[in-house]
Symmetry: C2
Subunit: 310 residues, 2 copies
């Protein structure tokens, strides 16, 4: 079994490649819920949904999140009420949030619901939220104002300076059933090419996760989401710099080094490999940009080989 | 000011006629919330929405509820999850429930939200929910099983025998701000042609409402929703019979007599007028079937005349 620490779009694309390289039933994804939010009373789990929709082949290929061919009649109608609609929930996507919220109202746990949603989309890969307890990523802006993650990420389009990041609730959140077992039992643990601060960070903040990974660091392979000093998507580069790290594969290696013995970096960062190694992390260089499904599968195959699980 | 006790479709049509007979700002509707429900975590107020959409000219004319030209992408998508979708929430209608639920989550009262929703639809008529506190109509079936109102009304299509009806929460529910004032101050109170048991009944169960109406019974005019022994819409006829009343204007008169001094009945029930009068209620005969907006306005004009408010 291969376990993958997963954020949103980058992780989803990697997972889609991985399940073309190994049987999907042999993959377990531990998914970030730090950017879950409540919108108009509905519980929204953006990363879980992005991974599910992608593995179901139903994701909007243009954005990497949301459903292909989606409509927005409800959001358009919400404008009438002057309600905030900067987080655009598609009509069909709404069904997922309605289902999740209804089930939570009946006392179901997030992890049970994730199973049900995956089954409904015929996704055989196991998708486990990192915790059934609420953990909320909070972003302290340079102005000193603290905002919810989605407000920073979507409303402000992550184009504001950040002073600090914290994971509210993490200290008391228990890992969801199966999380620690998967991380202990997996032949290989992969840290997907997700934002190391706000996508992987929350998962690592859950009790037991970092400890298990540190204890098996040699069979944990991370893939850098930073290529040639820039994030392929999202604010990983900015955040690393703002939090005093280097916006490079070296910065990623420093951040993930304690839990991942190997970092896979793109050909474009070949020159930085010695510096990654000097930081105490084995560095593997290969193409990491997942331009299409074949590239994603090839990256997965390389990661499996590097991790000794091929 | 004219105050109207209102349920759903019949009341909405009457109100649409009334605001063509008097300035809409001079009308206050006290609306039933006993059939409010929570679906997939969203607070749905069917009667409030039916009245709002109708007065906004946006209602689906075919059904009398819901929005014209509505789509159902979210409900169709919900089928995937095996979630109950017998209560069909349209995509644009969902926006209203999302807004209401979001506002309630922020601590807003139902009556504030009703004001905001009416304003968003440019409806100048004041629409007040009977109470900001939850009152839930429960239906005890002949089998002894008790179900929520919408389960009886929508899911079972009110085609099952009923043993009793109760309004859960009514004993402790306070009238919403403005309800008692409107009922005291109105030149005329109209009981709209709504189901006397499950639409008007909950309103009358709120502390103070029946007392005020009984005290001014001579200026309270009810319109019978039963015509020639049958309800124009819904289960009013069945319910009256099942609860031991006559399914006729006489049964309606007996039910509403304590609060309404006058009952307006359709021409089809002319022969029963003496029996209504014998039951202690003045009976006025005129066309009551609101086939179109003009018929609704003519009925409203007649009610105003009968009530001395023309």
């Amino acid at each position: 079994m291969i376990a993958v620490l997963a954020g949103g779009v980058g992780a989803a694309r990697f997972l889609a490649g991985l399940v073309r390289a190994v049987p999907p039933e042999q993959v377990t994804a531990i998914v970030n819920t730090g950017d879950d939010t409540v919108l108009h009373g509905l519980h929204v789990s953006p990363d879980l949904d992005t991974v599910t929709y992608t593995l179901a082949g139903a994701v909007n290929p243009g954005t990497g999140w949301g459903l292909e061919g989606e409509t927005f009649a409800a959001m358009d109608a919400l404008d009438r009420y002057g309600a905030p609609t900067w987080f655009r929930l598609g009509d069909r996507d709404l069904a997922t949030h309605l289902y999740r919220t209804g089930r939570m109202g009946s006392g179901a746990r997030l992890s049970e619901i994730a199973d049900e949603v995956a089954a409904a989309w015929s996704v055989p890969t196991r998708l486990i939220p990192m915790s059934d307890d609420p953990v909320r990523t909070r972003i302290e802006l340079a102005s000193g104002v603290e905002v919810e993650f989605q407000e920073y990420f979507v409303k402000m389009r992550h184009s504001v300076a950040v002073r600090s990041v914290r994971f509210d609730g993490a200290e008391s959140a228990a890992p969801a059933p199966g999380v620690l077992e998967a991380l202990s039992d997996a032949a290989l643990v992969v840290v997907a090419p997700s934002n190391p601060v706000v996508s992987i960070g929350p998962i690592l903040s859950i009790a037991g996760v970092s400890e298990i990974l540190a204890g098996r660091r040699e069979t944990v392979v991370a893939i850098s989401p930073i290529v040639a000093g820039a994030a392929l998507k999202g604010p990983a580069d900015r955040l690393l710099t703002e939090l005093g790290e280097e916006a490079s594969v070296v910065g990623v290696a420093r951040r993930l080094g304690p839990v991942a013995g190997t970092l896979v970096v793109d050909d474009a960062d070949r020159d930085l490999a010695p510096e990654v190694e000097a930081a105490g992390t084995r560095c593997v260089v290969c193409p990491t940009v997942m331009r299409d499904a074949t590239a994603a599968r090839d990256l997965a195959l390389e990661v499996l080989r590097v991790g000794g699980a091929a």
